[in-house]
Symmetry: C2
Subunit: 301 residues, 2 copies
């Protein structure tokens, strides 16, 4: 085993930070590290927290992290961010959050841009979770924005997924809920001091009454005012209740099945190091050829 | 050329609908069709419309479609939906929308689930846009939810991207804006009759003052009350103003470069038809092996 893996397994923070950067940069070193670290994973509780922008997820994640620290548990936070794909600009909020936990080495925060992950956001998030798990973090919190494909995949990675909603979100809240009903193991109605939390809770229950989950679980609905710390203990209790109900094995198998497919695709692509995608794309845009003909030509070389 | 391609190019609606379904199902027939249709693309205006859930995107898209129909333009709408990955349940709102335009064959709507696209949502959306473009639709409206990786990719596909915001979205509106500043060619403040649209406009302008786009464009900010039809004409004018400014070639090249990469990856994966990803994933979860060892073994067969 490499010295760096040893350092990570023994909880060395600087080694952890370096490894996180290697994963972010997809350096070849990262693959080697992950291979060494993988057998030491499986102990961390991985909690996914997702919801629309404005739902107060970051605040909720922070308060949960603080509550876990009260129990003397170590925490890793992976914030999957809709960072600018072009400028690489970082999200203001996260910089502030990092300052907030700065003094506590037992809260490790990494903000992952969604740009530039050739193998996909979920793949990079999986790698980061493997790292934090191996590094001995008791709980890994993965915060994602929205309800797209990425969030669905990350929900498979997490042992339990918390979906955060807010009263009065607007007229297509039905659409949101249709997308998240299946990934939510716990619902949080945050900002429950705003008007009409009862109405939102009724709507969630109405959606729940329409279908039954295969595992028989009925996701509990917890009300929070995260900014005041209200409902945080109840949220954690609901999370633990689900984890006691479901061992997460099916979900982990589904996640790794998808990750293997992605890893294989990426590695196969490495066999074509000299392809000029940009020049080919220019030929397509100028209609000198079409994408299907190009792919055939590459495959038949 | 196949009879089906002929029918599509001549505007046959049933052929179009069958082809859309073939693309959704990723049938081998779809590849063949797309190859035939590709040379006939490039005439449609592709408009991306994105924003958080609750922003009223669907209503805005509908009103824009109606305005375009007043100009006698034909319209295709691709709604990229966070549909359930497990049950395949459809979004209630879209069913209603389809009824709304049901009587008008010149508004073709397809709702694309984000689940199950092995090659990615952006790839499938590209294929659908190729189809609608070849089928002679004057304008293709692509509606996406959120600001994740998918939306960023789809923004490259669109010639112009409209970002929809709403006053009073909550305390991490800064975070949303950081993610969308770079993809927005036009900002729409929808529900502008709600309190504090001025404040949101000031915030957008403050963000805009922090950086300059490479193309020198300063995205205009349009106020709408989409549900009442207010501001729709102004939105279309802003969209056309951008299209007059930017021919979209750089964006199209970036999009096809990414698509080629994905297409090649998928096709390479087809060379391993007999791999049992599920069984391998089970071995990983039970710690009998690790993912990196499995990939190496597959590649070295």
């Amino acid at each position: 085993m490499s010295p760096q893996s040893h350092q990570i397994l023994s909880g060395d923070l600087r080694a952890l930070a370096r490894a996180a950067t290697a994963i972010e940069n997809r350096s070849p070193q990262a693959d080697h590290l992950l291979r060494e670290l993988f057998p030491h994973t499986g102990r961390a509780t991985i909690i996914g927290i997702t919801g629309a922008p404005g739902a107060g997820k970051s605040t909720l994640v922070d308060k949960i992290a603080h509550a876990l620290r009260q129990e003397n548990k170590s925490v890793g936070i992976i914030a999957v961010d809709p960072t600018s794909p072009y400028t690489g600009g970082a999200i203001l909020g996260d910089r502030i959050r990092m300052l907030d936990h700065h003094a506590d080495p037992q809260v490790f925060i990494r903000s992952m841009a969604t740009r530039g992950w050739l193998g996909g956001v979920a793949a990079a998030t999986t790698d980061m979770a493997v790292l934090l798990d191996a590094a001995g973090r008791d709980v890994v919190l993965i915060e994602t924005v929205g309800v797209g494909q990425d969030e669905v995949e990350i929900a498979k990675l997490a042992g339990v997924t918390v979906v955060v909603l807010v009263p009065g979100m607007g007229d297509d809240v039905q659409a949101i809920k249709a997308g998240i009903m299946e990934i939510a193991d716990v619902f949080v109605i945050n900002k429950a001091d705003q008007p009409e939390p009862d109405r939102l809770e009724r709507e969630i229950k109405a959606m729940q009454s329409l279908s039954t989950r295969k595992d028989g679980w009925v996701p509990p609905i917890v009300r929070t005012v995260a900014v005041d710390g209200q409902g945080i203990a109840e949220t954690l209790a609901a999370v633990r209740s689900f984890l006691a109900h479901n061992d997460g094995k099916d979900r982990a198998v589904a996640n790794w099945s998808q990750r293997l497919r992605e890893m294989l695709r990426e590695r196969l692509l490495h066999r074509f190091p000299d392809l000029d995608f940009h020049a080919a794309a220019e030929d397509i845009v100028s209609k000198r050829t079409d994408p299907y003909t190009i792919i055939d030509a590459w495959l038949n070389r």
